[in-house]
Symmetry: C2
Amino acid sequence: MLRTKIREILDRDSAGDDVLVQGWVKTRRSSRNVTFLQINDGSTLKDLQVVADESLSNFADADSLTTGCSVSISGQLVDSPGKGQRFEIHAKSLEVMGLADPDTYPLQKKRHTVEFLREIAHLRPRTNTFGAMARVRNTLAFAIHRFFQERGFLFLQAPMITASDAEGAGAMFRVTTLDLDQLPIKNGAADSAEDFFGEPTFLTVSGQLEAEIFALALSDVYTFGPTFRAENSNTSRHLAEFWMVEPEVAFCELDGLTELAEDFLKYIFTYVLDHCPEDLAFFNQWYDESVISTLEGIASSSFERMTYTEAVDILQRSGEKFEFPVHWGTDLQSEHERYLTEKHIGRPVIVTDYPKEIKAFYMRLSDDGKTVRAMDVLVPRIGEIIGGSQREERKDILLERMRESGLDEQNYWWYLDLRSYGTVPHAGFGLGFERTVQFATGMPNIRDVSPFPRTPKSAGF
Amino acid sequence: MLRTKIREILDRDSAGDDVLVQGWVKTRRSSRNVTFLQINDGSTLKDLQVVADESLSNFADADSLTTGCSVSISGQLVDSPGKGQRFEIHAKSLEVMGLADPDTYPLQKKRHTVEFLREIAHLRPRTNTFGAMARVRNTLAFAIHRFFQERGFLFLQAPMITASDAEGAGAMFRVTTLDLDQLPIKNGAADSAEDFFGEPTFLTVSGQLEAEIFALALSDVYTFGPTFRAENSNTSRHLAEFWMVEPEVAFCELDGLTELAEDFLKYIFTYVLDHCPEDLAFFNQWYDESVISTLEGIASSSFERMTYTEAVDILQRSGEKFEFPVHWGTDLQSEHERYLTEKHIGRPVIVTDYPKEIKAFYMRLSDDGKTVRAMDVLVPRIGEIIGGSQREERKDILLERMRESGLDEQNYWWYLDLRSYGTVPHAGFGLGFERTVQFATGMPNIRDVSPFPRTPKSAGF
C-alpha cells in the first residue's frame, strides 16, 4: 500500500478505506487495553488519531511509544466517536521505525520557549510552531513566484559573490580562499591578486543593480534569493543572511511601482490566507491575536498615498509625543511610520518623494531638485515593509548624484552604460522575505522565522 | 494608453486595435519615405515590425534610429503585407526615449562571439541568445517549483553561510569580517573568535544535511538556491557559484527516489518544451540541432534501471576503446556514462548501487556490505544530470561510515541526533540548475547560461 499524507486523509469526504500512514508520535494516551496515538507527518498542523488495541501482535510496543517515535501504521479510516477529530484510524498493523528515548529526547509534551528551541534547531521543525512556520514560509515563497510569473516577469538569479559594493547599503562579508593563517602579503596588505577571483570579493547586499541590467533588456524581472549584511545588530529584526525579493520594471515610473507593490502585497497575503488557514489560526491564537485581521485588512483595503512632505506635516500636527522629533529632512522612524498607518489612516500607506539626502544615489531626482521618486510601503504593526524607487535613468544627473555621494564612477562603468545605450524610465522595490514571514505569523523574533538564522556569533547547523 | 507587451500582441487573433509598444530597436531599414523598425521588449524572441512614415512629426528622428535605441510607439496594429511577420504597427506617434550611439554601442547588427559577449555581460541580455536564455532559465526554474509544490513538498531555504564542512564535498570559500590587512592573530593563527560568527565560516556546498532536518519533521521538502565550490576549475562545466535543487523525502527508499527523479526530469523538460517553443527552436537552430529531440526523448521514454555492477559488466564487454579503463570499484567517467545512455540503451539510464568507497558517508549501506544505495541519472549528451541516494538512517552504521571516512563525529552531533530520535528511511537527490539549463539549450559553455558567471579570476558585474 502507498503512503497517504495526513492532510489528504483529513480532507476526505468520508471514511471507510484502508490507508497507510507514516509519521511521528506527538502523544500517546493509554486506556485499559487500548492506546491512542496522535500522529503528525508535517503535511498539516493537525494530528491524526490512531487507535491500537490488543488485536495487534505488537500491542505492547504500540502501548509504550513515546513522543518523537516514528511509526508506519496501516488500518481502516473510520469516523471518530471522540471529540476533536472527525476521523481516526483503527490500526491493523503498526511498525515502529525509530524510537526516541524519553529520558534524552528534548521535545516533550509541554510548551518549550522559543529561546530553548533555537538551541535545537535540528529538532524544532517537529514542533507545532515551526511546522506551521515552514508551511507559511513555503506558501508565501511560492505566492511570490506565482505573482510575478502570472504577470510575465522573469525570475533572475542575481549573483551572491560580487566585486562591487552595490549601493554602499551596508557592511559586507568578505569572501576569500586566502589562507588566513598564512596570508600572502604584498606592500603591507593582503595580496588580493592571489585570491580566487584575483580581487577582493564580498557577499551581495542587493541584486538591484544586476536586476536593472536585465530589466533594461527584458522589461520585467525579479530576483528572489539570499542577501547579506555584516552588521553587528543583535535585534529581533536583523539577520546577517536573509532572502529578498526585488522586482525591477522597465517603462515604469513611480506611480506604476506603487500599484505593483499594492497588488503584490494583496496577492501574497490573500494567497497565504487562502492556503494556510489552520497555520495562521495557530499563530493568531498563540502568538499575536491581530495576525489574521491585519492580513485581511491589507488584502481588502485600498492603500493610501501621501508624500513625505505631507507625512511630516501630519506628524508635526498630530500632537503625539514621539521619541524622535520630526523635521523635514530627517528619515521617518518606526514610531512615525506606525502612527501614520495605524492611527492616522488605519490601513496601509505608501509614502513617496523623500528628501534626496536621506535616500540612495540611484533614485530619480524630481524637478524640485530636493526630493527623489522613492516610496516606502507602511503597514500596521511593523511600519515599512517595502522600499523602492524610480531609478535615475538620465546619465548626467546620475553622475552628479554619484559624485555628491562620494562614489567612484569607475566602479559603476556598466551601470552608467545602461544609461548611455537605450535608457528608459524604470523602477523597482525590495521586500525582505523573513520580515514578511514575521509579519504574517506575528513572531516577535526574526530568529524564529528563519530555518537556520545567522546572527552575530551564531552560525550553528 | 497602457503598454502592451509584444508577446501578447503577437498572440492576438486579429489586428485592428491601437496599441502602445515600448522596447528597443533591433534594426532599422529605410526605404524612400518609410522606415521599418524591428522592436524587441524581451517578452518574446520575436521582434515586432513598426512602420513609420512622414505623417509623423518627428519622422526624421525615427528615420535615424539605430540598434539599441529605446522607443515608445503608439499606432494601429494591422495585418502585415510583408513576409516574416503576421502583424505590424503603423505608427501614429513615436517617442525616442534613449539613444545608443552606433559608434560606441558594442552590440551591432551582426553575430558576436559568446566570448566577446561575456565581456559585456551588462548588455548581452539584449541579444537573441541571452534573451532566449533568460526565458528558458526562468521557465525551468518555475517548473521546478511547480513540480514540487504540486506534490506537497515544502520549499526550504537552506543557509548559505555555514560553520560545518557539509560532506567534505569540495573546496569552500571562507566568509569573514576580519580585516585582512590588520588580521588579529592569536597563537600564530587568525583569531576566529574575533570574526563575525565567532568561528570560521564558509559558503555552503550543499543544503542536503539541513534538508534532512526538515524532511525528518515535515516529510517532503526541497531546497533551490545558490551553492558554491572554490575549485580552481577552468572548464566549460564548472562555476564557483551555481544554483542547486535538492529534494529530500522521508519514508522513501531508493526505488521511490528513482521514480521521483524520472518524474521530475520529464515534468520540467515537458514544461519547457510547452512554454518556450520559439526559444528552444532558436537554440536548436544556432547551437545544437539535437536540443529539442533530446528533450522530447527524455519526456517520452521510460528510464532504464541497472546496477553499477551491471553497468561495469556492459562497459567491459562493449568492445569500446575508453580513455579510462573500467574496473569494478572505480567511478564511472563521462565517456562511460554517455556510452551507456547514448549507445547501449539509447535513452536515460538510472545506475544504482555503487561501491561504498567511491560514494559519500551518508549513503545507505546495502546488506552486501560493499555497495551503497546511491543512484546517478544519466542522460544523452552529458551523462550524469542527477546524483542522489537513500540516506543511512541507522545510527550505528552511520557512525562506522563516518569513522571510515575520517570525519569527526563531534561536528555532526545534530546529524546523528536525527538518527537517535524517530529515525526513518529517507532519500534525496541533487540537480545542478545551470547544467540543466546548459542541457536544455545546448550551450557549450556554462558561462553562457549563468547571468553573471563566477569563475577563477572572474567576478565582474
